[in-house]
């Protein structure tokens, strides 16, 4: 009996294999997406493991925001090994030949680092020669942007350097990071140390290589807490590896989740085509039952066929996935710290094809279960329809397994449980709403049309709710694709518009900072000489939190039951003034404009920080301002509109409270052109080399550049779903092809012209395209709205023109796919129809 089942299953696919392959092709891309992203992830892990030491470039590093004190120096001595130091800070680099200047990250390096891996430069020998000759290496992108060539001179502070080479790849820094703040390498010995004045930020690092193969983690462990007390951070190969692994795993897992959507959509396509396919095999099944086949074995025949299709799809998808995997490193190159070799990851292939096969089978089972209701009587009477579809426990159990499996997989694949659940929930809602809309559409359209509607329109609309129609499938395929694309577009737009608020006229867009009190007047002078306005001038005092209430941050950190958050640990750049700005709103308490000089200073704390610190009005906070403890009390809590590109502060002190503290000044102006901006920056840097400038429009451009790459990666994965949607759509149209031929022949016999037949089809696809894209877009707006509220915390921004283009494209695409797949329908003769058995 068993042998009969698979033998018959194989024979029965004859003449249908092309069709079955088309059905299964809708899941191929989903499998490909999963296999490619997970195989890539495995390779990435392998690459990171293999090159872990080059990630850090050393066995161990110590790092601090201020020069190491004596005790730390003693520890460094005792650790031994080969050492190499580096000091980094942000400063303006000035290029006399072009007269341009740009804020860069200056790294003063010593010989030795990186001990593992290499700094790649052009020309290659420049990677070490600059240390001896006293020259500089500059980020390749920066050189291109600022038209700098090798041999040019560059000034940082009071030092001049000859540009000896372009930096191509450096340890610890991916291209994305470099875009934000371009790197400049110079010898440590030739740094202008006057730039490292108190109050400005710098990073002091020392890198170790241990020739004795000792375990760096074990060596540093006993020193950790003491070093932490001095605010000295440590980093080992192992930590670096874990950090990268965690970050990149999150990235590729998220992408995998996007790919999984394609698989789900494809499986729905499989389910819907199989349901039509088996309906056409009812007579065959009835005959088999007459001749003694059991109910179970007839169902198995088609389960085997589905399994065969699933296997084939999994096989094809895996192959395609392995090919696509070679593309991913190129797409993600900017975010990767290591070169990823191409290798086929068999676990990823097995997982991807296993999931593909499993999902196909489960979704196929939904229509296959109804085969149990096929009565052998149907061989005697062809008119008998399968009675009302039985949705017994087996059907619901299958649906349950699909739901649990999808959720389980989403949770396992997603970077976090919450994200996995959120994904599963969102997918469920989108599918349900799309399906509901399809049902509603069919219900509305099945009502008798008003008199006067032309025949073509009536017939086209009737096609959408005829028996065996594919409206639901087509709606899902089109709607989900539209939904994904529009959601991405709306999210992008919301994010970008949030940043470009800074582009408003009258808002400052050029900021000078790190201005010593004595430099304030000269800077104002230079700016005004250039004919630019002084829009804002603020003071910044750097401080840390020493204690909240009666517990010091140190205690909190050592107490494993307490929680020391980022708000406890961060460095605060606070200001003092007698008013709130227009980007600040008081939530509770009273803002104190000026301090009387008695008791704790009443400060205004930003709401999120107050939440993190768990403080309320009247609670005390002790700040450590460069060694001096300053007791304060929370006088008010305020919200800050961070999107306003101006100096915003977590903590604002009242006027007169910090007069004695060492402060840095910030001066803001607005330039209208790039040239103007370059000119005033050069003028300031030439006179006051220690003052730094940030051009906000430059930051915006950089941000947009990086964002567009991330968006590209996400779109790359969403593309799988969109393509799958098109395949499902094409499949759905092809399935109903025979039905269409019959109808078209009938219409032709009744005297309809080719034009009429084509018009009827056009009406059908137009209505479908409109309904699906509109639903998809509305859902996307809802999704975009929740993302804008819960993720970006910003008002939704809708690019109406682009959304309109999407809608038009979906409608046109539906028309084109529909017509392409129905090609030749009109040309079939009545005889063809009589002959072909379905």
């Amino acid at each position: 009996m068993d042998r009969w089942i698979w033998r018959f299953a194989a024979r029965d696919t004859r003449g249908n294999r092309g069709r079955l392959l088309l059905f299964v092709s809708s899941m191929v891309l989903g499998v490909a997406a999963l296999v490619s992203i997970n195989s890539f992830g495995d390779n990435l892990k392998a690459a990171i493991d293999q090159e872990a030491r080059t990630l850090l470039g050393a066995d161990l590093s110590l790092e601090s925001g201020s020069p190491f004190n004596e005790r730390v120096e003693a520890i460094i001595d005792s650790l031994g090994g080969t050492q190499s130091r580096r000091t980094s800070f942000a400063s303006m680099a000035f290029f006399p030949r072009t007269g341009s200047s740009r804020l860069v990250t200056v790294r003063g390096n010593q010989e030795g680092f990186p001990f593992y891996g290499a700094v790649e430069t052009d020309p290659p020998e420049a990677a070490t020669s600059y240390l001896e000759s006293g020259g500089a290496l500059i980020d390749g992108t920066l050189m291109q942007q600022y038209d700098i060539v090798i041999g040019d001179s560059m000034r940082i502070g009071g030092m001049d350097y000859r540009v000896e080479g372009r930096l191509l790849q450096t340890p610890r820094e991916s291209a994305a990071v470099m875009l934000f703040s371009p790197r400049v390498y110079v010898p440590l010995a030739r740094l202008d140390t006057t730039l490292l004045a108190a109050g400005s930020r710098a990073d002091y690092e020392v890198y170790f290589r241990f020739e004795d193969e000792r375990d760096a983690d074990a060596a540093i462990e006993p020193l950790q807490s003491e070093l932490r007390g001095y605010r000295v951070g440590t980093d080992t190969v192992e930590e670096e590896r874990e950090n990268w692994n965690a970050a990149l795993t999150n990235l590729y897992r998220f992408l995998g989740l996007v790919g999984f959507t394609a698989l789900l959509l494809g499986s729905l396509g499989v389910a819907s085509s199989i349901s039509v396919y088996v309906r056409q095999r009812i007579q065959t099944i009835a005959v088999l039952r007459c001749y003694g086949a059991s109910v179970r074995s007839t169902v198995w025949v088609y389960v085997f066929q589905a399994a065969g299709m699933g296997l084939f799809g999994a096989f094809l998808g895996s192959g395609l996935g392995v090919l696509i995997q070679t593309l991913i490193p190129q797409v993600l190159a900017d975010f990767l710290p290591v070169d990823v070799d191409f290798r086929v990851s068999w676990p990823a292939v097995f997982m991807g094809s296993g999931i593909g096969l499993g999902v196909t089978l489960l979704f196929a089972l939904l229509p296959l279960l109804s085969l149990r209701d096929v009565s052998p009587l149907m061989a005697l009477r062809s008119g008998v329809e399968t009675g009302p579809r039985r949705k017994g426990w087996a059907w619901w159990a299958t649906v349950g397994v699909i739901g649990l499996g999808t959720t389980g997989f989403a949770v396992a694949q997603a970077p976090s449980v919450g994200m996995g659940l959120g994904y599963a929930g969102a997918i469920l809602i989108v599918f349900l709403l799309l399906a509901g809309t399809a049902r509603l559409l069919m219900a509305v359209l099945s009502r008798r049309p008003p008199v006067g509607v032309s025949y073509t329109i009536k017939q086209g609309i009737a096609n959408l709710h005829r028996p065996n129609n594919q409206t639901l499938t087509m709606m899902l395929a089109l709607g989900l694709g539209t939904f994904l694309v529009t959601t991405m577009l709306v999210s992008e737009d919301t994010l970008v518009s949030q940043i470009t608020v800074a582009g408003d006229t009258n808002r400052p867009n050029l900021i000078f900072y790190d201005i010593q009190p004595a430099q304030v007047e000269p800077v104002r002078q230079v700016v005004m000489e250039q004919g630019l306005p002084i829009l804002e001038q603020t003071l910044i005092v750097t401080m840390r939190i020493h204690a909240v209430g009666d517990r010091t941050v140190q205690e909190l950190r050592e107490d494993s039951t307490a929680r020391a958050t980022w708000a406890h640990r961060r460095e605060y750049r606070s200001t003092f003034r007698d008013h709130l700005t227009d980007s600040e709103t008081l939530v509770s308490g009273i803002f104190t404009p000026a301090w009387s000089g008695e008791g704790a200073i009443p400060v205004s704390v930003e709401q999120d920080v107050a939440n993190e610190l768990a403080v309320d009005i009247g609670d005390s906070i002790v700040f450590d301002i460069q060694g001096i403890l300053v007791p304060t009390v929370v006088g008010s809590i305020r919200t800050v509109d961070w999107r306003r590109m101006q100096t915003n502060f977590f903590v604002v002190f009242p006027a007169g409270s910090l007069d004695a503290a060492p402060a840095m000044h910030v001066i803001m102006t607005r330039t209208d052109t790039e040239a103007q901006s370059a000119q005033v920056q050069s003028a300031v840097v030439r006179q006051l080399p220690s003052v730094s400038a940030i051009d906000l429009s430059l930051i915006l451009n950089t941000f947009e550049a990086i964002f567009s790459r991330i968006a590209f990666v996400a779109r790359f994965m969403a593309l799988f779903s969109v393509l799958t949607g098109m395949i499902v759509l094409a499949g759905a149209v092809l399935i109903s092809r025979f039905q269409r031929i019959e109808e078209s022949v009938l219409l032709k016999t009744l005297g309809a012209s080719r034009k009429t037949v084509l018009r009827i089809m056009s009406v059908e696809y137009l209505v479908l395209g409109f309904a699906a894209s509109l639903t998809g877009i509305l859902l996307a707006l809802a999704a975009g709205w929740s993302i804008s509220i819960f993720v970006f915390d910003a008002p939704l921004s809708v690019p109406f023109a682009s959304v309109g283009i999407i809608m038009a494209s979906v409608v046109v695409l539906t028309l084109v796919i529909g017509h392409l797949n129905s090609r030749g329908v009109y040309d079939r003769s009545a005889l063809d129809v009589l002959r072909s058995e379905v």
Partner: protein, 239 residues
């Protein structure tokens, strides 16, 4: 299993009622008869009189509202659907009005289906011989779509006999054929039936065709209105 002049089919007081919304429609009422090995019987009556329904019940394709069908000693009433299927596989052959060949199988594969369902994997020579017998020896690897209606029905005949059934059910076997082709098929049907000694239940509204069987059961409105021996039967008895 069956031997001698044992009764192959016993039908007792069969009633079938369909529920159509609120109304119940009685399609068959109190039908009873019995057939022994080798008997041939026609069921005739106007369209809608319940012939196909009766045939379906006799073959265990459907369950009666009341009454019993016993096929080759198996009372269907006490069997599950799959058990009835097993009984059919062992004892029953079918010929349908619209042929019902499986479109994806070749002629010979169609003929082999009942044998393969029984677990026999060596039925090909037998199937080939049967096809040759019905005059389709050179069409064995053709698909149903490549055969004419008469040819398809001859393949169906070969399929009906491959398991050497004890009883053959034929529902309007010539209904979809022109008269000449129909005659040819009928000749074949009776020849094969005679050679195999199979009991035959033939549903038809063609009285000439019915006259070729031993016995005619007339249905009208779901009731047996007459049950007669035919001239053929009388002639056979005399002969």
């Amino acid at each position: 299993m069956t031997n001698g002049k044992n009764e192959v089919l016993q039908v007792a007081d069969l009633t079938k009622t369909y529920q159509c919304g609120q109304r119940s429609l009685t399609v068959l009422e109190g039908v009873g008869f019995a057939l022994a090995t080798g008997d041939t019987c026609s069921i005739v009556g106007p369209s809608g009189s319940g012939k196909t329904t009766l045939l379906g019940l006799c073959a265990g394709l459907d369950a009666p509202s009341s009454g019993n069908v016993t096929l080759c000693g198996h009372p269907f009433g006490s069997l599950s659907e799959d058990e009835r299927a097993a009984v059919r596989n062992e004892h029953v052959g079918f010929v349908f009005q619209s042929f019902r060949l499986i479109p994806t199988l070749t002629a010979i594969e169609n003929v082999m289906v009942p044998a393969e369902l029984r677990g026999r994997n060596n039925a090909r020579p037998e199937a080939a011989a049967l096809l040759a017998d019905v005059g389709l020896g050179d069409r064995m690897d053709h698909f149903p779509a490549q055969l004419s209606g008469g040819e398809q029905q001859r393949v169906a005949l070969a399929r009906a006999f491959i398991n050497r059934p004890d009883i053959l059910f034929a529902d309007e076997p010539t209904g979809n054929l022109d008269s000449e082709t129909g005659e040819h098929v009928v000749d074949l049907l009776f020849r094969l039936n005679r050679e195999a000694g199979t009991t035959l239940v033939l549903v038809t509204h063609d009285l000439d065709l019915a006259a070729m069987t031993d016995r005619i059961i007339r249905l009208h409105g779901g009731k047996v209105v007459s049950d007669t021996r035919t001239a053929t039967a009388l002639a056979a008895m005399e002969g």
